[in-house]
């Protein structure tokens, strides 16, 4: 048996390339050697002993970028660690992921940034380390943002928590502005969300589940837009979930505020009617909201108000989810289903152009994070995702992630990641294509 994974020469023949970085769509073959795209064109002279992929039925995209994942490392490696997180990412077509700092302990000190980046290097994978904005994510004192950045932190966030003290948030923004740092903001007013479990609406009432009103998110977004206006800070609102949030951000962009945002595939794919079964994999924060919110998110993605799709990959142990709705942890894994879910919903049901979806998963997040372009051209590092858009598959309880808390289990999703090329190597290929 010939082993395909990890060969240093890969030939992708007859690819349909969609490259959101260069806004190009074209047919070409690609020769990859020693990590780089060596040659592109219709006819490339091939040599023996190279991995040959016939891509005539596939789309080739730059590898995906996830700007919001929880790798649970350090501290909760039973849920996920950097290595398993990378495997899950590669299986989903991702070649770069931003990891959030709410680990145990949180990434609020330089040594932890170094630890994360060292693990990334060992695994030959791009991790964008997001460090805490406040010490111990407590929202009280600003973290050593300068020192953390010098060690390689590429952005700051208290994700999982919200800075409630408006003055502290203002000072964080002023300080971030000094360095031109990116702030990734989890917006949640806990006076509205405490004890809450699900979106406030028909289903929270019908099922007697404690509600989290959309106001919880909207109030803080309104505040932070004002603060960003005053300070000129560069802010990114993550996992936007409500209609009014999208509208406020759209308006702020018009007024020139340096604001971007993302939403997740599960907020786009589902609305709160999914709660009927009390399946705790739908217990996420922010909650999956109503049909109007869902429609507004889709509209926001289409018109460019929402700049990126991010997974908010949040692994939890089986026993933390195999319980009552009130006792279960918030969060869902998403790296391995992100593209398929988004493609099924956005492209097939909502008529979004595949190129636009790919932009939301590549150039969109990449620009926000300030990464180098991953355009598909000669001389660039080879970071690609090959996608089969013609297949349909039921999502099974089988993941590269250590956790299985996936809300898409049981859903039939269109498309599949055929293989992922990461730094010129082929660390992931779907089962049916391995030989």
């Amino acid at each position: 048996m010939k082993k395909r994974l990890g060969t240093n020469r890969i030939y992708i023949e007859n690819a349909t390339i969609i490259d959101p970085y260069s806004h190009n769509q074209f047919a070409s073959s690609i020769l990859i050697e020693d990590g780089f795209i060596k040659k592109m064109g219709k006819q490339i002279e091939t040599q023996p002993h190279m991995t040959h992929i016939d891509a005539k039925d596939y789309v080739v995209s730059p590898g995906f970028v996830d700007m919001h994942a929880h790798l649970r490392d350090p501290g909760e490696e039973q849920k996920e660690d950097i290595e398993s997180g990378i495997k899950a990412a590669l299986a989903g077509g991702f070649v770069a992921i931003a990891c959030m700092p709410n680990t145990k302990p949180p990434i609020d000190r330089p040594a932890l940034v170094k630890y994360i980046l060292e693990q990334a290097r060992k695994n030959d994978f791009t991790i964008i380390c997001i460090a805490a904005m406040t010490k111990n994510l407590e929202g009280r004192e600003i973290s050593e943002m300068g020192l953390l950045a010098e060690c390689g932190a590429k952005g700051f966030s208290d994700d999982g928590k919200c800075v409630h003290d408006a003055r502290i948030m203002y000072e964080i923004m002023r300080y971030a502005k000094q360095f031109s740092f990116l702030l990734i903001l989890h917006e949640e007013d806990s006076s509205f969300s405490e004890n809450g479990l699900v979106h406030e609406g028909y289903w929270s009432n019908k099922l007697g589940l404690e509600p989290i009103p959309a106001l919880s998110e909207e109030l803080v977004i309104a505040r932070d837009i004002m603060l960003a206006q005053k300070t000129g800070a560069r802010i990114h609102i993550t996992h936007v979930s409500s209609k009014q949030s999208v509208e406020m951000i759209r308006e702020a962009k018009k007024q020139g505020v340096a604001i971007t945002c993302d939403t997740t595939p599960h907020h786009v794919f589902f609305n709160h009617s999914c709660l009927q079964t009390f399946d705790t994999n739908f217990k996420v924060k922010p909650p999956i909201r109503g049909a109007k919110d869902q429609a507004a998110l889709i509209e926001g993605l289409k018109d460019g108000t929402i700049d990126a799709l991010a997974t908010d990959h949040a692994p939890h142990l089986f026993q933390e989810k195999n319980t009552t709705f009130a006792s279960a942890q918030f969060g869902a894994i998403g790296l391995e289903t992100a593209f398929q879910a988004a493609y099924t919903k956005l492209c097939l049901k909502e008529g979004m152009d595949l190129g636009q979806l790919l932009a939301l998963m590549t150039a969109g997040p990449s620009h926000i994070l300030g990464l180098d372009t991953m355009a598909i051209k000669e001389g660039k590092k080879a970071n690609l995702a090959l996608i089969d858009t013609k297949i349909e598959k039921r999502v099974e309880k089988k993941f590269f992630s250590k956790s299985i808390n996936c809300p898409f289990i049981g859903q039939t999703l269109a498309s599949e990641v055929v293989c992922t090329i990461n730094n010129g190597k082929l660390p992931y290929m779907r089962e049916c294509d391995r030989y």
């Binding site: 405490e194 004890n195 406030e200 609406g201 028909y202 929270s204 009432n205 019908k206 099922l207 007697g208 589940l209 404690e210 509600p211 009103p213 079964t277 009390f278 705790t280 026993q319 989810k321 195999n322 319980t323 009552t324 709705f325 009130a326 006792s327 279960a328």
Partner: protein, 312 residues
Amino acid sequence: MLTGRSLLRSDDLSVEEIGLVLKNADLFMEVLERKVKKVPTLRGKTIANIFFEPSTRTRTSFELAAKRLSADVVNFAASTSSLKKGESIIDTIDTIISLKVNLLVIRHGHSGVLNFIAKHIKVPIINAGDGKNQHPTQALLDAYTIKKKFGTFSGLKVAIVGDFLNSRVARSNVELFSRVGMEVMIVAPPMLLPSDYTVLGVPVKTAIDQVIDHVDVVYMLRMQFERQKRKLYPSIEEYNRFLTLNSARLQKMKKGSVVLHPGPVNRGIEISEEVMDGAAAGNRILIPDQVTHGVAIRMALLYLILSQQEEA
């Protein structure tokens, strides 16, 4: 028709099935009037009462219903807090199933817990109250009490008064009462309602005085101070002013109209002391009937679910 089935929500039962349960309750009411209040119908069956939340009347009612049908009853009480993890709930349930019981009666403080348990086991379950979600047997016994009094449901005006937001009784009752043909309205201030109360699909009034003189049934909800994690309602005095059933309001009630309450009554909050004690109330207050009917309704359900069932 109900053989081997679970009852998790009031809308698990069709109108026809509700009628069947009420008809059977009539038969068992007759048993309860006898000198020997026991029939051998469920001899050899075992029913487990599993209460993760404290309860006196519902648990006793189920226990008595089972015993009067000659079933064996095991009671299992545990505090929700000592069984925080789902694993332990499942372990508990598995243990009880291993004891070869035929039916589970479960109460738990978390909404939806029965849907979770039902995924793991095949034994029929009766919901004895889950969180703020549902309390279907309460809705059935309340409907039965109303039926006994008025002989019909159609056209009856029912006002459900008080803390809708935190009440599983209200969720089951509004659903079931509306479906059998009663005209339901809710009386509650905004902080005791879902923020968008159009989702309820019934009219909402804010004070008891707006309805007291023209409804047939005044259904007082327990003011669930224990479920109000944040104290959003101002005070008992405020409650008395707008929502309490006191003697003055009792006087204004329509001829033949009645008062129900799921119990236990917070005296001086939902219903004033004088109304609870006074002869003035006459036969309007049907709270004792509700308790008696509760046993008959639960006998009917246990009978319908278990009597034809094959041994597992």
